[in-house]
């Protein structure tokens, strides 16, 4: 059977392809593949080619026509054409075996499995197939003809190969050997053939070096070999047979064991992975320690001193049998081991309820709890408010309510009102029993220390005593007592007579701060009149009062008189000048008649709440008066009438009479206070005319800067003005003197002109200079008296571009130098240091001072805390596994908590430890 093949020259190699690869004996192809070598130099002609083929050992008959074509473009022989493969084959086979061949594909490997080729042969086969495949590929690439070889698979080729070669297997081994010998003998006849035979025969495969038939030496025993026998035996079940069939189908071979170095490498790799993973567990702890603000070595030290009980207890568990026994008993008896939210009994009762009830109850409980916490929070918030005003308002509101109630009560049922009164009375009794306002408290003691030197302290103490007196007075008890009850300490200031706040007006009339109170709450002023009068009454009634009281009275009297005097003076002035009518009248009214509140209500500046306050107060006082009246109408009415007269007498008397040594002292004090006025005024350089007006404004409502600055100055003649003018003159004089002194000291220096000169010099230096490069006599006539020509001068004078405008151009009194100052740059950081990413960051860290001059002690301590603290004489052990365990446990806890808490350094900072402790 003739097999048509294709032979062609590809890239200088002869390539052979057959149409029907399935029928092409692999060996023969292999042989031809072997001759695929560069021959293009030789085979210029067809004959040459065939000769070269023949010369290469291939059985190739020249009778076959092989049309050759010359590819002119690439100077290569590109020959292709058909040839009769059968001939080649025939020749091959004859040369190798000379016996009958089975070219039939159907004779599969199964037929002659035990006679299949050796491993070596197999290898070669593989190579062959590989080569063949390569050939096929190239064929595909070749533009000549496309052979449809895709459907040809490797196995087929393999089978083919196997089929052809083992031709010797057909007969018995003996036969084969004989045949072989015969062949050899025949081939020995022709010298050429012999050589070829030796080349072609694969005797080494069949005959081992030990001259033993090594047939099937390197063969693998296939599963099919073993199965064959099984297939014949009927005892084997069909199932196993099918299994075996399946197994047979999947031909898998076990890989050969790895070499020793390879196995070792793998082992090492695995071990390394393991240990590196193990080591990586420390990563987080290492990172944390790096970030920690402070590390105290040795790590994990227990803080010295006793531990808080909770810390000890919470980690405690019953371990010993005895403990466990006790716990068991406790649990049997339903005793709480830990602090439970609900006791077992409560829980049971909850369970006993129906579900709805329980729900309702629970909701109620929740609501109650929420409300409670809300009120608590509110109370806490209110308590923490420091504003006195706020508390005042609160108290006022309370009082108002009370008054309202009381009013109603008086109308509706006087019995309960009486009861209320009795309650108040009780309060009074309590006050009498207690030492609350008797100068015995801590505050009073501290004041007592200072009382010797400080008038204010003394006065404050006296006021407290007075409060006490007020509260314990039977006459005026009721309401003041109630106030005391209402809000212990905070109400104290309210109880004080108001002249406490208004510092003696005589002392410093120029100071608006001191006088602000006077006219601020004119209604307030009504209040003190009561205790004052009461005091007066007391004085007149019983003479057992202490000397301090009289002194106080005297002082008060003095103040009042002086105030009156001044007001009178002012009134006179006003009458005389008639300027700024409004202000003056207001002032007058405020000063002269304290009880007048109407004008204040009219004043726009007064806040609404103030008004309210006043109203309340007035109400309160009214009530107070009423009660008082109702209580002691009969006895007191006459007495009050009597009292008013002596009071007046006393006031008048104080003007002229000095009764005792104390009074003398008082006078001295006043005199001392008076000279202070001009001093206080002196440093204020504001014009005097506006001052007078200002003063009045201030006296009313503090300072309103806007008003002060914008309002037109009004000239008023105030009695105090002359002294003030004197002071101002003195100040002016002083300033002049000072100026003179300075002038004298810097007599020779003309600073301003020096500065200007400097600036001019700077500017000059910055200006560009004209460079003249003209060479006289160069290209022209030179000599004495001869100037270079204008043209030349113009040409060689170089002008540089003007510099950018100076920054201080518009600023008369400043020189801005834009040069780099080396003396400064020496102390400056040249480049941004490593950890910082932005210059701003660095600047910020530089700007923040760390010293105790700028920071509080605690802050300094915190800022300057060293990063690592070691203890002298303490051995620092390497980190241990326990640390890791602790760390991981902590992390777990954090993880379960589910909060991205800021991780604490495990060791760590002492302060943190302490913090934790307090938490616990």
């Amino acid at each position: 059977m003739g097999v048509m093949g294709l032979i062609y020259l590809y890239n200088g190699h002869i390539k052979i392809c057959t149409e029907d690869v399935a029928q092409t004996p692999a060996t023969s192809v292999a042989r031809f593949c072997q001759i695929s070598y560069p021959i293009w130099q030789h085979c210029r002609q067809q004959k040459d080619f065939c000769d070269s083929l023949a010369g290469s050992g291939a059985e190739f008959t020249t009778t076959d026509r092989l049309p050759a074509h010359v590819c002119t473009c690439c100077w290569r022989w590109s020959l292709y054409g058909g040839f009769n493969m059968a001939k080649i084959l025939k020749k091959n086979k004859v040369s190798t075996k000379g016996t009958k061949k089975t070219l039939n594909k159907n004779t599969g490997t199964e037929k002659t499995p035990e006679k299949s080729s050796s491993a070596k042969r197999r290898e070669r086969k593989r190579k062959t197939v590989g080569k063949l495949k390569g050939t096929l590929k190239t064929t595909k690439k070749s533009p000549i003809e496309k052979l449809d070889l895709d459907n040809v698979d490797e196995d087929e080729l393999l089978n083919e190969g196997e089929e052809i070669i083992p031709s010797e297997d057909e007969g018995g081994s003996d036969d084969d050997r004989k045949h072989q010998k015969l062949l050899e003998a025949i081939s020995a006849l022709g010298g050429k053939k012999k050589r070829r035979l030796a080349e072609r025969s694969e005797a080494t495969i069949q005959i081992s070096e030990f001259s033993v038939d090594a047939k099937g030496e390197g063969e693998k025993i296939n599963l099919s070999d073993l199965i064959q026998t099984i297939a014949k035996t009927p005892a084997v079940s069909a199932q196993t047979k099918s299994h075996l069939k399946k197994l047979k189908l999947e031909e898998k071979t076990v890989d050969s064991p790895l070499t020793k170095p390879e196995t070792e490498r793998i082992q090492r790799n695995v071990a390394f992975q393991k240990s590196s993973e193990e080591v990586s567990r420390w990563q987080s702890i290492v990172k944390q320690n790096l970030k920690a603000e402070q590390l105290v070595f040795p790590l994990n030290q227990e803080a010295p001193g006793p531990k808080p009980l909770e810390q000890v207890v919470c980690g405690w568990k019953a371990r010993t049998p005895l403990e466990q026994e006790i716990f068991r008993l406790l649990s049997v008896n339903k005793q709480p081991i830990n602090d439970p939210v609900l006791t077992p009994i409560e829980e049971e009762s909850l369970k006993a309820m129906s579900l709805e009830d329980a729900k309702i109850r629970r909701a109620e409980l929740q609501k109650a709890r929420a409300l409670q916490s809300y009120y608590e929070a509110k109370a806490r918030r209110e308590r923490s408010i420091k504003s006195k005003k706020y508390h005042k308002v609160q108290n006022k509101a309370k009082r108002k309510e009370f008054v309202k109630k009381f009013d109603e009560m008086l109308k509706s049922d006087p019995v309960s009102a009486l009861e209320e009164l009795q309650k108040l009375e009780l309060g009074r009794m309590k006050e009498r029993m207690s030492l609350k306002h008797q100068n015995s408290g801590k505050w009073a003691k501290s004041k007592a220390i200072m009382a010797k030197y400080d008038d204010g302290a003394r006065k404050a103490m006296q006021q407290q005593l007075e409060v006490n007196k007020d509260l314990t007075q039977k006459l005026a008890t009721t309401l003041s007592d109630e106030e005391g009850e209402d809000d212990g300490e905070t109400s104290e200031p309210d109880m004080l007579p108001d002249f406490v706040n208004e510092v003696e007006p005589g002392q410093d009339p120029a100071n608006p701060w001191m006088r602000g109170q006077l006219s601020k709450d004119p209604v307030d002023l009504t209040e003190p009149s009561v205790p004052e009068t009461a005091a007066a009454v007391l004085i007149s009634e019983d003479e057992e009062e202490g000397p301090e009281e009289t002194e106080e009275e005297g002082l008060l009297r003095g103040f009042a008189e002086r105030r009156k005097q001044r007001q009178e003076q002012e009134a006179e002035n006003e009458a005389a000048k008639n300027q700024d009518m409004e202000v003056m009248t207001e002032e007058n009214k405020a000063g002269a008649e304290k009880a007048v509140a109407s004008h204040d209500a009219a004043d726009a500046d007064i806040a609404d709440d103030d008004e309210e306050e006043e109203e309340e107060l007035s109400k309160f006082t009214n009530l107070f008066q009423e009660l008082k009246d109702s209580r002691m109408e009969a006895e007191a009415s006459a007495m009050v009438a009597e009292v008013s007269e002596p009071e007046c007498a006393q006031l008048q008397q104080a003007m002229f009479r000095i009764k005792s040594l104390e009074d003398m002292d008082l006078l001295d004090q006043e005199e001392q206070a008076d000279p202070a006025e001009p001093n206080a005024e002196a440093p204020q350089p504001a014009p005097l005319e506006s001052k007078g007006a200002d003063k009045k404004r201030k006296r009313k409502r503090g300072i309103d800067l806007a008003e002060v600055l914008t309002k037109e100055a009004t000239v008023i003649n105030v009695p105090l003005a002359p002294t003030a003018v004197e002071g101002a003159e003195g100040a002016a004089h002083g300033q002049e003197e000072q100026r003179d002194v300075i002038k004298e000291a810097f007599a020779g220096d003309d600073v301003i002109s020096d500065f200007l000169k400097d600036k001019r010099r700077e500017e000059e230096a910055g200006r560009p200079k004209v460079v003249d490069l003209t060479l006289p006599g160069w290209g022209e006539w030179g000599g004495q008296g001869l100037q270079p020509s204008k043209k030349k001068r113009r040409r060689f004078r170089l002008k540089t571009a003007p510099p950018p405008p100076r920054k201080d151009g518009g600023l008369a009194s400043v020189i801005i130098s834009e040069k780099r100052d080396s003396s400064v740059s020496m102390h400056q950081v040249g480049a941004l240091p490593h950890p910082f990413l932005l210059p701003e960051q660095f600047e910020v860290t530089m700007r923040a001072p760390v010293g105790a001059t700028w920071n509080t002690r605690q802050a300094v301590k915190k800022i300057t805390m060293p990063k690592i603290v070691t203890k002298v004489g303490a051995i620092i052990q390497p980190m241990s596994r326990d640390d890791l365990l602790k760390h991981s446990r902590k992390q777990e806890e954090e993880g379960t908590a589910g909060e991205p808490k800021k991780r604490k350094a495990p060791q760590r900072k002492r302060s943190q430890k302490r913090h934790k402790k307090t938490k616990n």
């Binding site: 490498r265 082992q267 090492r268 790799n269 071990a271 390394f272 393991k274 240990s275 590196s276 193990e278 080591v279 990586s280 420390w282 290492v286 320690n289 070595f297 006195k388 005003k389 501290s446 220390i449 200072m450 706040n501 602000g516 109170q517 601020k520 409502r701 503090g702 020496m826 102390h827 400056q828 950081v829 040249g830 240091p833 660095f842 860290t845 530089m846 700007r847 001072p849 760390v850 010293g851 105790a852 001059t853 700028w854 920071n855 509080t856 300094v860 301590k861 800022i863 300057t864 805390m865 060293p866 690592i868 070691t870 004489g873 303490a874 051995i875 620092i876 390497p878 980190m879 241990s880």
Partner: protein, 446 residues
Amino acid sequence: MKVKVLSRNPDDYVRETKYDIQRVPRNYDPTLNPFEVPREYTRAMNATKLERVLAKPFLASLDGHRDAVNCMAKHSTSLSTLLSGACDGEVKVWNLTKHNCVRTIQAHEGFVRGMVVRFCGTSFYSIGDDKTIKQWNMEAPGYGVEEEPINTILGKTVFTGLDHHQKNGTFATCGQTVDIWDEQRSTPIRSFSWGVESFSSVRFNPVETELLASCASDRSIVLYDMRESMPLKKVIMTMRSNTLSWNPMEAFYFTCANEDYNLYTYDMRYLEKPVTVHMDHVSAVLDVDYSPTGREFVSASFDKSIRIFPKENRNSREVYHTKRMQHVVCVKWSADNKYVMSGSDEMNIRLWKANAAEKLGVLSHREKLAANYNQKLKEKFQYHPKVKRIARHRHLPKHIFTEAKEHTVMREARRRKYVNNVRKHSKPGAVPMLSEREKHVVAVVK
């Protein structure tokens, strides 16, 4: 209107006894305390200068050895005890507080190659050129009783390095192989070898206590796990490493002292390139030891100096040297982080402060505060050129100074050659620009 009244409570400013410090009410208003930066700058400058003035690190020299000191060992439980082995086989036990030798043992014939104290501190091991491992009792024998080791193991080859496990009764030696020994046995329970080498030192990881590392003569550092039968990995460098030391606080870092004058800190998980290259020495580095805090380490060099490096810095923060100190062979950092001990060729052991300017002894509270403040100031202004110059300046012996200069020149020349000659004239991308860290690793063998 609310009037705020000045209130003065004598409790705030009156001291209770005359020995109290006067209370000074402070006003931190910045307008009242202007120029904070310049003022602090001046203070920082002064602090830096003072630090230099007060930097007197040398504490004591312990002499008594009759040959060069070859190895030292810290006592594991006593801070005041130091052990040293000399080249004549003599082992001495020192009391550091009294600066005297407590005990002398003629332990070996030839060099004492290594010493280590057992974790409990009751005994110590020594190895020598006489192929023996000896275990000694830490307590001296009674008067007139001869010094004798508790145990002696005769090995087949010379041992060159020794280290003890942190918690178990196991120790490791190295010579031709790295051997793990059980204290109870006279043969190693495990021995590792990977190719034919001789090892110069072996060290247990103090944190992950089952890991070891050793320096081999084939320029490699080999990692082991005591539980495995195989070594783990090795990295081969351009030159041989003499010793290494594990970081006691960070389990995966170790630093090796190399013959090429540098020290290399490695992460044992990534041996491809070192984490940091520490370069300042001008001769081979012979020994290295970490501070117990794991933040710094001290290195001893053949250039007759000791240097202290922060673990993440390329350059040293401190250099110690004296006129008489010769090649420093071994160095240790004390377990309380305060002192450094060095043993050198001229038979002396020297005791240094770890922080040269630190005041030793008990500090009063105010002293402590002041020291902290000064430290903070120095830290804050460390980048300012004037401060930096003063803080960095160290006086160096002439030979170190000149050699250092020479080395910078050489390094620069090498770099220039690489960049200008080699790199420029090869195919672009063929010769990569190597960082300093990449230059010194030849290969990592798995």
